[in-house]
Amino acid sequence: MPELWQLTLHEARAGLDSGSFSAVDLARSCFERIGQVEERVKAYVTLTESHALRQAGEADKTLAQGRGGPMTGIPVQVKDLISTRGIPTTCSSRMLENYVPVYDATVWEKLSRQDAVLLGKGNMDEFAMGSSCENSAFFPTHNPWDLDRVPGGSSGGAAASVAADEAIVALGSDTGGSIRQPASLCGVVGLKPTYGRVSRYGLVAFASSLDQIGPVGKSAMDCAITLNAIAGYDSRDSTSLDLPATDFTAGLTGDIKGLRLGIPGEYFVDGMEPGVRAAVEAAISELEGLGASVEPVSLPTTEYALACYYIIAPSECSANLARYDGVKFGYSYQDTTDMWQAMETTRQQGFGPEVKRRIMLGAYALSAGYYDAYYLKAQQVRTLIRQDFARVFKQVDALVTPTSPVVAFPIGEKTADPVQMYLIDVCTLPINIAGLPAMSVPCGFSDGLPVGMQLIGPHLSESTLLNVACAYEQATDWHKARPGL
């Protein structure tokens, strides 16, 4: 009998429903695990144990009455930029260190209505800006496979907590790869849904046209169950898509015979680690062996995505983060009578270097005289990138690429040079630019560190991607590998 904290969401659901254990047992077990490893992994900004045990008690009552839902009693970590009423939501920033939301994000409202159990809030790069979790204003999260290495980012806490069995499942957010890249570096499954599929209400905004909430889990099935619970139209998010409800678990047959997979050569970039290339190529052969057809395709605008992203995302960020002025909430510098000085010092002391860098980059790109050369140009390039994907998806059903060109790197290795850090997301950024769904699935190891393959599909093709991942998981065991902590 495995420990309860080792269970997948799917297994935990079965155990709770059959009465093999209670939601309180399961929550206690997760906190026992957190007690064993959290000091070394540091995946949580806030732990909510007493709240969780109360919620688990409620879940047990709900289950006893036969009113449970798919997430009832499931212990969840929630990234610390998703608003949780009455529980601090810091964005791993000094600016929001003492901020307590007075309302729930829609995704958390949906989960808590089902009596899902909040274990705590996940560490992240400050305001979701970063690829290593090193930009957290509080502490870096450590990769459970090698504690001297980064877990990826920005949802590093989400991926590390699932990999270390400190959570059954986690919610992250993905603006340029922030779910998929840490999932890849930690050897777990991460799904970024189609833009608009999941409500952003209550998600602290970074780049509104790119941000999307999604699950990080131990399997494709676990991500599908979680997506079922959080997806859907929300009148409080004006970009929410009004679609009929979909059961993302229904199509998980593992049958991918005849599916057409495209391999875009542009994603196998120079500087990609040989071990990553080998693992992804082996995974593609495996998918071919399962009956999918594989053909090379071309996405010639790929090389422009990085520049396009680093104009659009900072521009939106500079507007979104203008709200942190020290007046209504958040950190506030008081030791002056001058309004402007108070505001400037509040932002100087409240934001870390990467956030300041991106706000200034955005302010510059939007400023008089530069708007056409940068922001407008980037939006036009965004059209070309979208058209590239649209053309390729007339030819194939999904694309397979590496998620990250590199495996987890040592903490501190890339912090001095922002451009080097940005380059890590070269395979994940284009997907947000086009608003597509994509996921990262564990597909092997390079020098003992996990490698992820990325599956990319046209808008609203989550079911197809999840089924490709499901087929691959049935044929391989990579997603079951766990670090020895």
């Binding site: 090389e303 422009y304 002025d325 505001m343 302010a363 036009q380 965004r382």
Partner: protein, 96 residues
């Protein structure tokens, strides 16, 4: 196109971010390096390309104008850095 110190000070003023002398030096170099990466986009002819603001088509969304429960005033003020009664206390905005 490299930025000079005055450019960085101008951008910081636009963004209302105070910067130390060392920060100005660091950001001057880093932002210049990043802007250099953007030059790549000039290779693409976009003269006939419509810009994309959102990747997924969503037209203007309107809802019925039905009153909803507003936030409780206490909740609204819960995170106020400084309050006075039911008001946010702020620095003087108008000069004497």
């Amino acid at each position: 196109m490299p930025l000079d110190r005055a450019d960085v000070e101008h951008i910081a003023a636009l963004a209302r971010i105070g910067l130390s002398d060392e920060e100005i030096t660091t950001f001057q170099e880093q932002l210049s390096n990043i802007l250099e990466q953007f030059e790549l986009l000039k290779q693409l002819d976009t003269s006939a390309v419509e810009p994309t603001g959102h990747a997924v088509e969503v037209s203007s969304v309107m809802r019925e104008d039905v009153p909803d429960e507003p936030l409780d005033p206490e909740d609204t003020l819960l995170n106020a850095p400084r309050r006075e009664g039911d008001l946010f206390r702020v620095k003087a905005v108008l000069e004497e």
